[in-house]
């Protein structure tokens, strides 16, 4: 007996399925879809903001767009300071293997002792600077070493191509590019600019793929054009340095002001520093002596005494002053001249630099008159110049002057001023009696002066200054080939404690050229020359001479004096 099996149908399929089962599945699926729809609605509508934000946090980044710091330029547009890109090397210490075979190589590249490098890296911090602002080629080599945990970051470094010659004028910035000294400090805001920003989306490799919102562009700092002429600055600095070294002096300063515009063409000090390498700097090097150090100016004040007496009508250039016997006792002090000059004219007092003559002229003035003139010339007041650290010097209120003090002030003791103030006051003689406003910024407009003396007085004093720098004067070494000069030397004893040091001097020379129609006023100060010579006329005047020579040539001023030409020029007939 055989059982037949029907393959065409299955008993399972024929069994009746309960309807509720299929309905259950449909309902389940519907529920699942509902759930999805609900979730979608939540993500897209209700919780949208949250998810957007979370997404952005994961991919969007705000990038800072650093602004370039403005450049500092000289009057001819030459760069005195500019920012260049410098890479800084940083590290995540915990990622670094301190025994990495390439660490010594990196230390050598970064000019760090290996021990120091390891000390820096052996810390709990999550971020350390290994070395900041290294040159690009070195940074690339460090990158090529490919040490895990060492990274580069782009920063800016300030470069000062002019180096030490202009260091005190330009100043410098710190590692964060913020001005610390000089023009960099006082014009920091203008130079800095404002960083911009952009919000971007980055992919998983850190590449920027999209801007999320509008870019805020960085505003670069403005360039700053100074009145300084880098050539004049360099020559003045060089001559000053030579003089300081030759006379074994402690320090020196030189200032050159253009009389037509009030622009400071050069301002240099020695000792100085290289702003590109600022390790182990001392205050001695950093000080901008021309503006921050005040001294008793000595004989350089005498022309001012004479000018004020002339202006008040008490004397004229030919008034006779008896300086014999070269000594004058007063209030327990004796004021002396180096020689007994006998009877001198006022011109002679300046030419020979007679202290007795100066004090006799001052006696024709009241303390208040003197004080007023000193003040009008800027003494005892902070110079209004765009520069940090300028000091006012000291002129005591006239009411407290004793007669002997009034007398000593006539030849520059008992009051103090910086070299800059001294030079500034002399612009009154150079600018036909009006003192002009000095500026560190380029300015092509003619300076408007403030009247202190009449034009006649100024011209008369200029003549005396010319005599003082001429034959028989104390400042003969100030003469220079081709240009007429006038100026006054000064040699002041240095104050030590309560009295004056016996063998410490400060040598000055302040003058102008060409003398008939001055273009520049130049002041030179040498502190403690100690190589035998110490008179201003011997130490400071040669610096004046050479500075004037170069400055006027660079400014294109034609010589006003006949020069015995040393050119051998012959006439050649040219064939036609």
């Amino acid at each position: 007996m055989s059982r037949s099996i029907a393959y065409s149908s299955s008993p399972l399929l024929t069994s009746a399925t309960p309807v509720w089962r299929s309905k259950l599945i449909v309902a389940g699926l519907a529920l699942a879809f509902l759930g999805l729809a609900g979730r979608a609605a939540y993500v897209q509508v209700f919780g949208n903001e949250f998810f957007q934000r979370q997404g952005e946090v994961r991919f969007a980044r705000t990038l800072e767009l650093p602004a370039n710091r403005g450049r500092v330029l000289d009057r001819n547009g030459l760069i005195l300071a500019t920012s260049v890109v410098a890479q800084s090397v940083w590290a995540i210490p915990e990622d670094i293997d301190l025994n990495h075979p390439k660490l010594p190589e990196m230390a050598k590249l970064l000019e760090l002792p290996v021990a120091e490098l390891k000390r820096r890296l052996n810390t709990d911090k999550s971020f350390v600077w290994v070395r900041r602002q290294v040159d690009e080629p070195i940074a690339l080599k460090v990158k090529a070493l490919d040490i895990k945990g060492v990274y580069l970051r782009k920063e800016y470094k300030r470069q000062y191509p002019e180096g030490e010659a202009a260091a005190h004028v330009v100043g410098f910035t710190n590692v964060e590019d913020v001005g610390q000294e000089g023009v960099e400090l006082i014009f920091n805001q203008q130079l800095s600019g404002k960083a911009g920003s952009r919000r971007v989306i980055k992919d998983r490799l850190g590449r920027v793929i999209e801007d999320v919102r509008e870019v805020v562009p960085p505003v670069d700092g403005q360039d700053l054009q100074l009145s300084i002429d880098s050539k004049i600055q360099f020559f003045a600095f060089q001559k000053l340095r030579e003089a300081v070294e030759q006379h074994k002096a402690k320090a020196g300063s030189v200032v050159v002001i253009d009389v037509q515009t009030g622009e400071v063409l050069a301002l240099a000090n020695y000792p100085t520093y290289n702003p590109n390498r600022r390790e182990n700097l001392s205050g001695e090097q950093l000080r901008n002596r021309a503006l921050t150090d005040t001294f008793e100016p000595g004989s350089t004040m005498k022309p001012i005494t004479v000018a004020m007496a002339m202006e008040a009508g008490r004397i004229n250039p030919q008034t006779i002053i008896d300086t014999s016997p070269g000594r004058y006792a007063m209030g327990g002090f004796t004021i002396t001249d180096t020689h007994n000059y006998g009877v001198l004219t006022v011109e002679g007092v300046i030419q020979k630099s007679s202290n007795v003559g100066a004090l006799k002229i001052a006696q024709k003035m009241s303390p208040q008159e003197m004080w007023d003139t000193f003040t009008a010339l800027g003494y005892g007041q902070k110079p209004r110049i765009e520069f940090p650290g300028a000091v006012p010097g000291r002129v005591r209120p006239w009411k407290s002057w004793r007669p002997v003090e009034q007398a000593t002030m006539s030849y520059g003791y008992g009051l103090s001023a910086s070299l800059f103030q001294m030079v500034h006051s002399y612009t009154a003689f150079a600018h036909d009696g009006s003192i002009i406003q000095p500026t560190m910024l380029k300015n092509s407009e003619a300076a408007v002066g403030r009247k202190v003396f009449s034009a006649e007085t100024a011209a008369a004093v200029r003549k005396m200054l010319q005599m003082a720098a001429g034959p028989g004067g104390t400042g003969q070494k100030a003469q220079t080939v081709g240009y007429s000069v006038g100026g006054k030397s000064g040699t002041a004893r240095k104050q030590m404690g309560k009295g004056y040091a016996a063998n410490k001097y400060r040598s000055w020379f302040t003058g102008m050229a060409p003398i008939d129609k001055p273009r520049i006023v130049v002041g030179v100060m040498v502190d403690e020359p100690s190589n035998g010579q110490y008179y201003g006329g011997l130490v400071a005047a040669p610096v004046f001479s050479e500075t004037v020579q170069q400055a006027l040539r660079i400014l294109g001023v034609q010589p006003d004096m006949n020069v015995k030409p040393q050119i051998v020029a012959e006439t050649v007939e040219e064939s036609i």
């Binding site: 500019t82 920027v208 081709g482 050119i567």
Partner: protein
Amino acid sequence: MTRLNLVLLVAVLASAFYLVHLQYESRRLYVALERAKTASERLAADHEQLVVQKRAQATPSRVQQLAVRQLQMRPANPAITEYVALPAVAGADGAVSGRVQSVQGPAVQAGGQQP
């Protein structure tokens, strides 16, 4: 009706693909732009660096040193300077035509040192 639907489907698909393509293209261009910007920044930085280096090579102190040491030059002063009037003025004087003045170096040196 079916035909219209088909046409519309094709249109939708085409537009969708084009959109994707555009998005891709825009990203690609954006990345290219980014790269170009970075390159331009780097070049600008290099340029600035080179300008500074050039300037550092041409500072008065270096120029003077080289001029004195290598070329045996010395600072000019009015005694060894020939001042020439502007051509217009000189022409009026009738002084320059047909003549050339040559300045001889060695003879100048014999003239003495600068004071």
